[in-house]
């Protein structure tokens, strides 16, 4: 990140421009999709060409040196388009993890390779509701066998993670693991390493590519074990927690985008489709349902903005505490996860028969909204985290 502070209005303007460019690009890209395809694809090369991949990568490693606030803009637009893209797994989770790690030759080289589009990382982490454990993998010293170089310090990693975004197709898998003392670290493996299995995990939402990562006793060099910044185990735990928050918030950005798209599509349809001699949008049942969708989106947008601001300012010494960030994220994720499903469902209802067809495409958004509601914590799980503040004391 550059040290020249940007004013809030300059930043808003920057985001506006980023948004306009992204939306326009996605619109043109979607037009290239075939007539049978109900969603657009934003592939690796496009991510590289747009520079979106390296948004958060520091300028010294050929990235844009931006923050999560700008990544959020892209995520929001990808959600609006219901685009199929490895952006979440690679740029948001993979780069996000690398950014929280201690600098080091291997890490720095990987960041530079990602910025150039030469390497494609994914982050294997818990993807469901489990709130206790933030690590899905365990790291231990390798058993010393005959012929070992004494003190080589080779390690063994094991564990599994399911429904990992963009795992299949990645050439580096970053495992969020606990070392022997329980401190979170990142272990970098390749899908071709012995003991590592990465497989597709097909889901109904065809726009997402999730995978299962199983690691069984894979030996790694000490150089593949990367530590979070700060030697303090508590700081490492906070960083791991931050990665889960970032994942949840990324999905919330997506949910807002797709909810907006669904409202716009519904308003458009209701303004033109006529039944009983009137546009259906002139009926209160339709109009008021659209109004309720709009209110939910407006509220969700505020909650999301607050969480994005908090997360983007996390490295700022005067910024919010970890707890405040988590609270803001859980509010946004729980609210938008539920709202996006409600809104996509209402869109299906208000589109009538057309909404229920494959070609109508509303189902693409509904499935993505449903998956997003569960991915990185269902609303109930995030509310449970918020609720703990009331039951304490």
């Amino acid at each position: 990140m550059s040290d020249v502070a940007m004013s809030e209005s300059e930043l808003a303007e920057l985001h506006r421009e980023l948004r306009v460019v992204a939306r326009d690009l996605l619109r043109r890209n979607a037009a290239k999709a075939g007539p049978d395809q109900t969603y657009p694809t934003v592939d690796w090369s496009l991510l590289v060409d747009t520079g979106w991949l390296g948004l958060e990568i520091p300028e010294e490693f050929d990235g844009a040196g931006a923050t999560f606030a700008e990544v959020a803009v892209v995520l929001h637009e990808l959600g609006r388009a219901a685009a199929s893209t490895p952006y979440l797994g690679t740029a948001v989770l993979g780069v996000g993890a690398l950014g929280l790690l201690e600098a080091g030759a291997a890490r720095d080289e990987l960041l530079r390779a990602v910025a150039a589009g030469e390497q494609r990382p994914a982050l294997a982490l818990p993807t469901g509701d489990s709130d206790g454990d933030v690590t899905a993998f365990r790291l231990a010293a390798a058993p010393v066998s005959e012929g070992d170089q004494p003190g080589a310090g080779r390690m063994v990693v094991s564990g599994s993670a399911d429904f990992v975004p963009d795992a299949a197709g990645a050439d580096r898998i970053l495992l969020l693991a606990a070392d022997e003392s329980g401190t979170p670290v990142v272990v970098a493996v390749r899908p071709t390493d012995p003991g590592v299995t990465v497989s597709d995990r097909p889901v109904l939402d065809e726009t997402r590519h999730l995978g299962t990562v199983v690691v069984e006793g894979t030996e790694v060099d000490p150089g593949a074990v990367w530590r979070f910044r700060g030697t303090d185990p508590a700081a490492s735990a906070a960083s791991a927690r931050r990665l889960l928050d970032r994942a949840a918030l990324a999905v919330a950005c997506d949910s807002l985008g797709l909810a907006e798209a669904m409202l716009e599509a519904t308003v458009e349809y209701a303004g033109t489709r006529r039944q009983f001699g009137r546009p259906i949008g002139s009926f209160q049942a339709v109009k008021h349902a659209c109004a309720d969708m709009h209110v939910k989106i407006t509220v969700g947008r505020e909650l999301l903005a607050a969480a994005v601001r908090a997360l983007a300012a996390a490295e700022d010494p005067a910024g919010p505490h970890d707890q405040e960030i988590s609270v803001a994220v859980s509010r946004a994720k729980s609210y938008l996860g539920a709202a996006a499903v409600d809104i996509a469902g209402a869109a299906m209802q208000l589109h009538g028969g057309i909404g229920y067809t494959w070609e109508g495409g509303v189902h693409v958004y509904l499935k993505r909204a449903l998956l997003g509601r569960s991915l990185f914590g269902a609303p109930a799980a995030h509310r449970a985290r918020l609720a703990a503040r009331f039951t304490a004391l």
Partner: protein, 422 residues
């Protein structure tokens, strides 16, 4: 007892049975229930769900035809038809039959649904003797029907349909397009609404026909629905010739025929759906809630989950009682003009709420269930598909919005919308 109601001293225990069925005596019903239970244990294929998951259209159709004949042999296929046509089961027994089929998770009659309900009630209520003799036995032998009502511009506003039937001597010649024709790809015959008087007010110029789907000029094209199935179809009609004897009811009285026959079949079909949701559907939901998650905990041990189960079960209990009541009122001819709308609205939205909850509580693994068994309803346990499929109940057959308007106007007597000036 002596109660001051003005009716004087009637006496009695006041004890009543908890069952809502009232036509046959309790002893008969208990016996009949035992009989159906025995039949189900012996006849419901234990592995049908697995076999029907991923079944081809042909496998599905063949399975449905087999199952229909199995039910027919037991006397369970068309219990609601008059005795002379192969039915004649008292309503209270029909209730028991559908309760037990649901309790034993029997396959649903999907393919023949329109045939045994809509087509049969059309023929019985408004058909000629000749039409009945020609089709009712054929339906028992497996003749499949499709409903050709909706059109691209006539969904909720069915009365604005544009398909035209022109009189030509002893025939009608039909041109137009139908949409949302459920199961048209398998259909032999079609219940067709078409406009025969383009100058009459919307509802007054429509006639009701029986159309042979093998007629020249009938072109069926599948429409994929939101879960990727092609159960719905478009039917294109180009100069299709229908003999005048295939008209149902008088010319231009098609709207009334359609209303009468739609109402006639609503009670028992809704009861069947409610029983399905309340039996296997809810059992699987409870199973899902009792299945430990990745962390080892069972969702049901979260009081928030258990609370929702209690709430949904309460609503489903209300639904089932409501359906039994509707069937009884239909039988006694005391049903109100919006009673069927109340049941359809409540069922469809409750189904949707229930499946929404199931998706959320089942978490990520629910999204990896890529297929649901054919021959099952929208409570199959493939929760995401079930949830999306639930819109098949809140949209067709009058959207929930339309049902609310019917309830408000016909049920409660509230004033209609002023006519649009457009």
């Amino acid at each position: 007892m002596t109660i001051p109601t003005g009716s004087g001293g009637s006496t009695g225990s006041g004890g009543s049975t908890a069952s809502g069925a009232s036509v046959a005596g309790p002893v008969d019903l208990a016996e009949f229930r035992a009989e159906v239970q025995r039949w189900c244990r012996e006849n419901v294929p234990s592995d049908w769900r697995r076999a029907q998951t991923g079944a081809s259209a042909e496998e599905f159709a063949a399975f449905q035809q087999d199952w229909f004949q199995q039910l027919r042999a037991a006397g369970y296929a068309v219990p609601h038809w008059p005795a002379e046509w192969g039915g004649g089961m008292p309503v209270a027994q029909q209730v028991v039959l559908y309760q037990e089929l649901a309790a034993h998770d029997a396959p649903r009659l999907v393919l023949g649904f329109v045939s045994i309900h809509h087509a049969a009630s059309t023929l019985l209520v408004a058909g000629t003797d000749e039409q009945r003799r020609r089709h009712l036995p054929a339906i028992l032998d497996g003749e499949i029907w499709v409903q050709g009502f909706s059109e691209p511009e006539a969904g909720s506003d069915l009365a604005s349909l544009r398909t035209v039937a022109r009189r030509d001597g002893d025939t009608f010649v039909v041109d137009g397009q139908k949409l949302w024709a459920s199961g048209a790809a398998h259909a032999d015959w079609c219940l067709l609404l078409a406009r025969t008087d383009p100058d009459a007010p919307k509802r007054k110029g429509i006639s009701y026909f029986l159309m042979d789907m093998r007629s020249p000029g009938v072109d069926v094209r599948p429409v994929r629905n939101a879960i990727g199935d092609s159960h719905f179809c478009e039917i294109f009609l180009n100069g299709v010739v229908i003999p005048a004897e295939n008209l149902v009811g008088p010319v231009n009285a098609g709207w009334q025929v359609a209303q009468a026959t739609l109402a006639a079949e609503r009670g028992m079909t809704m009861l069947e759906l409610a029983e399905r949701l309340g039996n296997a559907g809810f059992r699987w939901l409870v199973d899902t809630c009792r299945t430990p998650g990745p962390g080892g905990g069972r969702p049901v041990d979260d009081p928030r989950v258990a609370d929702r189960l209690a709430e949904l079960e309460t609503e489903i209990t209300g639904l089932r009682a409501l359906c039994r009541g509707l069937v009884e009122r239909h039988e006694a001819d005391t049903a109100g003009p919006a009673d069927a709308s109340v049941v359809k609205l409540f069922y469809s939205e409750l189904l949707q709420r229930t499946m929404d909850f199931a998706v959320e509580v089942a978490g990520l693994p629910a999204h990896a269930e890529l297929r649901k068994p054919a021959s099952s309803g929208w409570e199959s346990g493939a929760w995401v598909l079930d949830f999306i499929g639930s819109w098949e109940w809140t949209i067709p057959g009058g959207t929930s919005e339309i049902q609310r308007t019917i309830i408000g106007e016909r049920g409660l007597g509230l004033p209609r919308e002023p006519a649009a000036s457009a």
